[in-house]
Amino acid sequence: MGKKTIIPIGPYHPLLEEPEFFKLYCDGETVVDMVWETGYNHRGIEKICESKTFEQVFYVVERICGICSTSHPFAYANAVESIPGIEIPLRAKYIRTLIGELERIHSHLLWVGLAGHFLGYNTVFMWAWKYREPVLDMFEMITGNRNSYAMFTIGGVRRDIDSERAGKLFKVLDEAEKKINLLIGAVMDDPVIHARLKGVGTLTAKDIHDFGAVGPTARASGVDIDVRRDDPYAAYDLVNWKVITAQAGDVFAKAEVRLLEMLESIKIIRQCLDFLQKNPEGEIKAKVREIPAGIGIGHAEAPRGEVFHFVKSDGGNSPIRHKIRAPSYTCIPTFRRSCIGGTISDAAIATAAVDPCYCCTERMSQAYDFRTGKKLYNAADLIRLSQQKTEEIKKQLHKR
């Protein structure tokens, strides 16, 4: 067969915001195997968390990744608050929900933009990011920062949203919604995007179960899971919304799920703002003096899926073990199923489809592909090749 084409992607690659390394084994443009190496981004956050107090951990987990900088605190808050079993004030619940959903919009817009960028469709990139700006403005208005909001604290939130600000937020939201609708239309109806995304990187429900994939990746394959509904936290059981799913499991379905989820998020935000405007007074923080010894398990639905935090406390004021499982950690291994068989170009977008961010995956990890290509390659190609060869040999024998 001669040499196999080996295409490196990364660790510094325009496709990836973060350092990450894939080795694509290709046959022409077709990817037959993929080995990957991580650990570039491994910052040892879980260990750092053990040296921080419960309160400080918020600011660390916020920096697990800047894109889900609410989801991790969210899950962490759920986990820690479950140890003493505190009920946080209603107002805080709404504010948390609001921020969580705002983040979902910002993150999905970001994804749409980046996906466009990977496809060389820079206009979509620019548009999506332009429309993301109002969302960031809203963040700035609420929390004082565009990313890494430092909004959460044990027992509630750190800043209130008064009704005047809520009114402003309403306006910005209306504006953003219009734009987002526009963008959704533009992306969903573009025939070239259809051609490029449909049937690419398909995952079945079985794959999802095997890998434990979550979030839009799972929902796009018809697996109807969403922590917000299954194990409601904050105010998700108090507002009215629905879980978006799609059946196809390809990249387009994932895009579709993400785009439509934004609209649901806007719906939720509306209801939250409504509540905040109607009930302008209220506690935003419950006082938690001590965290007793015990185990806290919390999860939250990040834009990319379930974030899972496991916290063990010994009665001190810092966790003795803090295990973080980010959605990408279980979604990224699905590349092995989604990339192989596609072309190099598809690999890029199929990779992007999970919306991978290695930051969180790697706070702890470094991994390789384990089922080495042999199986995948052998099964598909070698058998066929050897059959052909036998046939040829047979024929030649026959001729003589």
């Binding site: 650990g39 491994h42 040892g44 879980e46 260990k47 479950s82 140890i83 079993g85 179960h209 095997d210 890998f211 434990g212 994939a213 979550v214 899971i225 299954d230 194990d231 409601p232 015990g294 185990i295 806290g296 398990i297 999860h299 379930e306 899972f308 496991f310 063990k312 003795i320 073990r321 295990k323 499982r325 950690y329 279980t330 291994p333 702890m364 990890s365 470094q366 991994a367 390789y368 384990f370 089922r371 080495t372």
Partner: protein
């Protein structure tokens, strides 16, 4: 409710297990390590719970490994807890059953020095090439060789 039935069934099938509701909607099932694969198979394949992750830590009594599963229909999180003594950090790998557990087992292998038996690719993988052998950042000082 469904979860009660589940608890009943586990109790019945695996009487050695020790079941405890740790807080709202969180279930901890402590099992001896010999039972791990069977219970995993039951939970993952029969009950079709979603695998979340595996946590491991170095506690005073030994290395504690907790397998987290989620029952999405009810919102319960089911945790399997296996305790390994400090002097024998070995446990069966669940990767043959749960496809997605491969990374995390290797991660634990790397960070805590626990051996997973029958792991499909039990390669040593550390953060950096330069990371010294036999060093496990998550082991407590007293357990570091």
């Amino acid at each position: 409710m469904k979860i009660e039935k589940f608890i009943e069934e586990v109790k019945q099938k695996y009487p050695e297990s020790d079941i405890e509701v740790i807080n709202q909607k969180r279930l901890m099932i402590k099992i001896p390590r010999g039972l791990l694969l069977k219970v995993t198979d039951y939970i993952f394949n029969v009950r079709e719970l979603r695998y979340i992750i595996v946590s491991a830590m170095d506690s005073q009594d030994g290395y504690e490994i907790i397998y987290h599963y989620s029952d999405d229909a009810s919102g319960w999180i089911i945790n399997l807890n296996v305790l390994l003594p400090h002097n024998l950090p070995e446990v069966e790998s669940i990767t043959p059953v749960v496809y997605g557990a491969e990374w995390i087992e290797r991660e634990i292998m790397d960070l805590l020095g626990i051996t997973f038996l029958n792991h499909p690719k039990p390669e040593r993988f550390l953060m950096a090439e330069s990371w010294p052998e036999g060093e496990y950042p998550f082991r407590r000082k007293e357990n570091k060789e």
